[in-house]
């Protein structure tokens, strides 16, 4: 569904994304794990061309996005939903108006829009909050509004830019469960970036580890965790040792 091939992005003299190749099959959840500054966010933003790669190609659903005209790209972007760490909701509009935004932007008639918004709020469990404003909601609820908004145009792909990083661990769990449920029920393909190992081990089918713009490890999460020499397995071990309080001098 998502194919990045030899994608690079350079800002001034720093290479933010260095020759990244990545393939996410239909209905998979792929996680890109890395520290801040590793280039994950830039990489994710190349998938809907918010950031145009300097070299390499990006294709989603079999379409080479780089070859599209401006109007075709706008249409292609409706097939790719995106959620953000800080939600990026409109503060001065209601929850329902926020979810309706992408539909409004694309001229969907009011009746159809209202029906779709009601359906989406039901899906994310916020039907009772339709008339509220985002400031009246908790962080987890705001992220669910943002997810509903991203899903409004019925995309095939969801991009998640550290969607749980501003949330506490219980809320993170709820959002991750929601993402898995959406993948299962809607057949979404999800590409997420995170600095939290936990997110990858809990919901991702496959993962890439990114350091200084390069992907240093890639594969199915089970296989990586099963290989004691993999970076993912080593990090997982370190975390569990810290939790258990062993391995200290």
């Amino acid at each position: 569904m998502i194919t990045l091939s030899e994608v690079s992005k350079i800002f001034d003299s720093t290479v933010a994304v260095d020759n990244v190749t990545l393939d996410v099959p239909d209905g998979h959840i792929h996680g890109v794990l890395g520290r801040s500054g590793a280039g994950k966010s830039t990489l994710l933003r190349t998938v809907n061309l918010l950031e145009r790669p300097d070299s390499g190609s990006v294709s989603v659903g079999g379409r080479d996005l780089g070859a599209l005209s401006a109007a075709e790209l706008r249409a292609a972007r409706t097939r790719i939903g995106m959620v953000f760490q800080h939600f990026h909701l409109l503060h001065n509009r209601t929850v329902a108006a926020n979810v309706a935004l992408p539909l409004r932007l694309h001229g969907v008639p009011a009746a159809e829009r209202d029906a779709r918004v009601a359906e989406l709020l039901e899906l994310v469990g916020l039907s009772d909050h339709a008339a509220k404003h985002p400031s009246q909601l908790s962080g987890g609820q705001r992220q669910r509004v943002a997810i509903a908004r991203a899903l409004a145009p019925r995309p095939e792909v969801l991009l998640s830019d550290e969607a749980t990083s501003a949330l506490d661990s219980d809320t993170t769990g709820e959002i991750l469960e929601l993402l898995v449920r959406l993948r299962d029920t809607l057949g979404l393909t999800i590409l997420l970036i995170t600095h939290e190992l936990d997110v990858v081990t809990r919901i991702c089918d496959s993962a890439s580890i990114m350091e200084e713009g390069r992907i240093v490890e890639q594969g199915p999460v089970d296989a990586l965790l099963g290989d004691p020499d993999s970076i993912l397995a080593q990090r997982a071990r370190r975390v569990s040792q810290q939790v258990l309080g062993v391995g200290r001098a």
Partner: protein
């Protein structure tokens, strides 16, 4: 005296109202253009941005008393007259348009760039981003900008009295200043004060109601 004060107050309100209307019609889009064509705007265009910036700065740096007199030929063409409150609307709007445009620009700059990026990710057109994201999200700021502008126009409208511009300022100059009638002077000042207070109160209230941050 009461008749004169009532007539003059209505003239002032009419002058301010009409000037504010034209200011929104021309200054609003100008402010949006200033924002949109800037380096970090939704449609960067450095040459256009510079030209608009210079025009706005010229408009804002000419003192109103001078502007009012300087554009008399233009006022005659547009309003068909150079005296009275109808004529005063022209220089008032000309002075307020660049002022309001700058305030609109700064209200739009306050909108979180992340929200704009989210709209771009939805496949929004630039016009869609302005109409559906920038303006709704900055509405409280825009209302505050309009309030400040209306209060400034009210002040300027009194100055228009110096060239027979009609309204309370005109009354204050002709009766209060030229005829040494202190009662007129005090009454016009009080009325202007009340008008400004009402505008400010209404503007603050509307902005607060619209603000859900």
């Amino acid at each position: 005296m009461t008749d004169k004060l009532v007539t003059a107050s209505l003239e002032t309100l009419q002058m301010v109202g009409l000037s504010a209307l034209w200011t929104v019609v021309f200054g609003g889009p100008l402010g949006v253009l200033l924002y949109a064509t800037a380096k970090r705007g939704v449609s960067p265009n450095a040459p256009l941005n510079r030209v608009l910036g210079v025009i706005v700065n010229i408009g804002r740096s000419v003192p109103f008393v001078i502007l009012m007199v300087a554009i008399i030929p233009f006022t005659r063409v547009v309003a068909g007259t150079t005296i009275g409150s109808t004529a005063s609307v022209v220089p008032l709007a000309v002075a307020a348009i660049p002022f309001f445009a700058r305030l609109v620009e700064s209200a739009l700059i306050e909108v979180d760039p992340g929200v704009i990026e989210a709209a771009q990710a939805m496949g929004a057109k630039r016009t869609g981003i302005v109409a559906r994201v920038l303006i709704p999200e900055s509405l409280p700021g825009l209302v505050r900008a309009l309030t400040v502008t209306i209060v400034a126009i009210t002040g300027y409208s009194a100055m228009a009295g110096a060239i027979a511009g009609g309204g309370l300022g005109d009354l204050a100059i002709r009766y209060g200043y030229q005829r040494y009638d202190a009662a007129y002077m005090v009454a016009t000042v009080v009325l202007l004060l009340v008008i400004v207070q009402i505008f400010q109160f209404a503007g603050d209230l509307a902005a607060r109601r619209l603000d859900h941050r």
